[in-house]
Amino acid sequence: MCLGIPGEVVEVHDDAGLRFGKVRFGGVSRDVCLECVPEARVGDYVLVHVGFAIACIDADEAERTYRILEELGQTDELLAEQLLAEQLLADERPTVPAGPLDPAESTEGAEGGTS
């Protein structure tokens, strides 16, 4: 019921003293009452609910928050990649000398080495 759809104002006109306009939603446009978004101009995006624009979308705010969201977790991914790389290196270290050895011998050898 409270759903609103963002659309672009493509035309503004007067309808018997009230501010109306054409708003485009994807491929469809329709008449919308713009009386309560006096700041909305052609090219702006408004939020439309039951044929009535209830808000002018703050493009800068949308851009800013979306950028934060897009970046969210990316540092984690970098960290994860770094961890993975380190793990691979760590895995490689014992496998390089242990590679040609039989697992049983390698265990024995390791134990022997530490004792």
Partner: protein, 370 residues
């Protein structure tokens, strides 16, 4: 579409869900207030992306659902009159009252019309001067300016055959009622983004501070909802309880000032009965005295109707977040969207109807699993 697609980005949504899973250490119960948010959560499976320690319960924010049986019956009685063209948003037509629904009435020959915008009903009134045109004015604060504009225009253009059957409801008193409910489980709220686009969020700052509960104003898309959950969880985990605004691209502290002025020119606050919940003080709007010539409740005298709800239905508990739809023994059996027993099944935005529509019925889920 711009401002929609980017907030449905699966990769961003997944990263948010992962971040929530990493940061949460205790179980928490969150409520999304608005029915549109409930629908989106169930549709996109947002609740299933979250770790099991976070439970989302669904709030009373579906105005179609909570419109009282008495009001549905009044609408039915008015729409039955031969001199009336009854106009409404489409989703009210199938809501059953004690005497049946508006859709059935229409199929029996009553002039019941669906309008997209309330102001279209005023146009119908101008085109049909010999008929009384009544619009069923329901909704939360989001819809109030559009409904107020219809009355404003009718008054200004002297359209005397237009009236409105007003059954508006308000969100903040409902949040307060939930927080005052004995056994309340809700620890934080996702606030109603579009209601706040109109009203701003000062009322929610007051609620958050009075009840020491986190409230995060949130949008309706998956990324919005998940970010709202993350912000709630961060507050809960650190013991904070403040108002935060996730939906800053639409919502400012003061909301839409011209829209609010229009609403208060036409409407005044009144006690209202909510289906499934009961009477909540100062939780609705009615037309101001100056606009009584457009008040359908005064123009059409309707006898008081004795109404009775199903004894099986637990929608009152679902609307307060005490129970989930699947806890009801009648869910998906005696109670379906085709023959709903109570408030939460009557509209697509009701929690029970959303669960039913997206296959959250325990029997169907078991069938899928096997």
């Amino acid at each position: 579409m711009k401002y929609l697609d980017e907030y449905r980005d699966q990769a961003v949504a997944q990263r948010l869900a992962d971040t929530i899973a990493k940061e949460v250490t205790k179980p928490w119960v969150l409520m999304e207030v608005c029915g549109g948010q409930t629908h989106s959560i169930v549709r996109y499976g947002i609740d299933r992306m979250l770790p099991p320690s976070i439970e989302l319960v669904h709030g009373p924010g579906c105005p179609v659902c909570v419109t009282s049986l008495e009001m549905i019956d009044k609408a039915h009685a008015i729409a039955s009159r031969p001199d009336v063209i009854f106009t409404s948003f489409g989703d009210m037509l199938r809501v059953p009252g004690s005497r049946g629904d508006l859709q059935t009435l229409r199929s029996r020959g009553a002039d019941v019309r669906v309008v997209y915008a309330p102001i279209d009903a005023v146009r119908i009134a101008k085109e049909n001067p010999k008929k009384q045109v009544v619009f069923f004015g329901i909704g939360f604060e989001t819809t109030a300016p559009a409904n107020a504009m219809a009355v404003h225009r009718a008054r200004r253009d002297a359209v005397t055959n237009f009236s409105m059957l007003v059954s508006h409801v308000l969100v903040p008193p409902a949040i307060a009622a939930i927080l005052q409910t004995r056994g309340n489980r809700v620890q934080a709220f996702l606030g109603p983004g579009h209601v706040c686009a109109i009203m701003g969020f000062r009322e929610y700052e007051a609620l958050s501070s009075l009840y020491r509960v986190p409230i995060v104003i949130s949008g309706f898309e998956p990324v919005d909802l998940l970010e709202g959950v993350l912000v709630c969880v961060r507050q809960l985990e650190t013991g904070r309880a403040v108002l935060e605004n996730q939906y800053a691209r639409m919502v400012t502290r003061d909301g839409n000032v011209p829209a609010r002025e229009l609403v208060f020119e036409i409407f005044e606050v009144v006690d209202r009965k909510w289906r499934g919940v009961g009477n909540i003080p100062k939780s609705g709007y009615r037309l101001r005295h100056e606009y009584r010539q457009h008040d359908a409740e005064l123009l059409f005298e309707v006898e008081a109707i004795e109404t009775r709800e199903s004894s099986l239905c637990i929608s009152g508990q679902v609307l307060r977040g005490l129970k989930k739809p699947a806890d009801c023994p009648a869910f998906g059996k005696q109670c379906t969207p085709q023959s709903p027993l109570g408030a939460t099944m009557v509209s697509a935005e009701g929690a029970c109807a959303a669960y039913y529509q997206y296959g959250r019925c325990p029997s169907t889920e078991a069938a899928v699993a096997t």
